[in-house]
């Protein structure tokens, strides 16, 4: 699977994703500059964390209208995979590729900590290698990660099982005390209706080697790669 890691001015997790994909997963990967619209040679586009365009106006707002994000519409329509983490999730929401929006943490603090994530949907290309109810541990690092969606959007998200991860306790209880940022219903990650666009606030690339404290982030990549390995083509999920 050919990966592209998008670089905006102010992106900071690009090198981490590139390292994990090339050195840990041994997959072909290249950087994609934010002005680039040509994604033809890619199977999966990563939108990494950081502060694209300084997070001016709103987090991810300017990046959400950039040439590369505009090109993602067509890329997604032809079945390409997109994974946005942290600022990448904010960009996907601002760019209209995922519903909802991410706003300032309710606690007003920048939160850089480990979180436990309850896996709610294992029928996505990014989670198909997981068990329902499995709890993953990944770090977060953000000031604007409170997920918000209007009530009708939220109802539709749940009805279509688009909520993939919720902040939880280590044993999988979705409770307020496990919610680091005030996200509505502890939502930490959502998938598009088509299933091939995932946005999450946690950082899978920072949980991909045991020396870094955990490898649960790798499970998302391994699930994704499994979709190709199975019969040599993309499986529509």
């Amino acid at each position: 699977m050919r990966f592209g890691v998008v670089v905006f001015p102010g992106t900071w997790s690009d090198c981490d994703f590139h390292y994990v994909i090339s050195e840990v997963l041994h997959q072909p990967v290249k950087y994609v500059w934010h002005r680039d619209r040509n994604l033809a040679d890619l199977d999966c586009v990563i939108l990494p964390g950081g502060f694209s365009y300084g997070d001016y106006l709103r987090a991810g707002a300017v990046a959400g209208k950039s040439p590369v994000v505009e090109a993602l519409g067509e890329f997604v329509a032809r079945g390409g995979f997109v994974l946005g983490s942290c600022n990448g999730f904010q960009i996907l929401c601002e760019g209209g590729l995922l519903p909802g929006v991410l706003v300032r943490n309710e606690c007003l603090q920048y939160r850089c900590q480990s979180t436990n994530l309850l896996v709610e949907n294992v029928d996505t290309p990014f989670t198909r290698g997981l068990r329902p109810g499995q709890v993953l541990t990944m770090p977060i690092s953000h000031g604007e990660g409170k997920y918000f969606a209007e009530p009708e959007t939220l109802r539709a998200l749940k009805a279509r099982r688009q909520v993939v991860f919720r902040y939880a306790t280590a044993d999988g209880q979705v409770v307020r005390s496990a919610n680091p940022n005030g996200s509505v219903e502890n939502i930490a990650g959502v998938v598009s209706e088509s299933g091939n666009v995932l946005g999450l606030m946690p950082h899978p690339e920072r949980a991909s080697e045991s020396v870094m404290g955990g490898t649960d982030g790798l499970l998302l990549f391994q699930s994704l790669l499994g979709t190709l390995v199975e019969d040599g083509t993309f499986l529509k999920r």
Partner: protein
């Protein structure tokens, strides 16, 4: 043509920034402050043939980028001395 865009969080959306500023003001002796919400002001100057055209362009800017209508309402005002078409 100059215009001013005011972008505000919708009523009912928790404004944590405003709450923090309000607490700070209360600490400075403004305990009489009942409510405070923080918004954004964007000043624009557009080339347009008419006030109506100017308002339409600025409205398009708001919908496409300046405001996130999930969270925010916006109003467009003419700057003093300029005329913008009414809503």
């Amino acid at each position: 043509m100059k215009a001013r865009v005011l972008i505000r969080l919708k009523p009912g959306i928790l404004d944590v920034q405003g709450a923090a500023v309000q607490r700070a003001l209360a600490g400075l002796g403004f305990g009489d402050l009942r409510d405070l919400r923080v918004g954004k002001l964007v000043e624009v100057d557009v080339d347009a043939a008419s006030p109506a055209a100017a308002r339409a362009r600025v409205d398009e800017m708001c919908r496409k980028l300046l405001a996130n209508t999930i969270l925010e309402d916006y109003t467009i005002e003419a700057v003093d001395g300029e005329r913008l078409a009414p809503h």
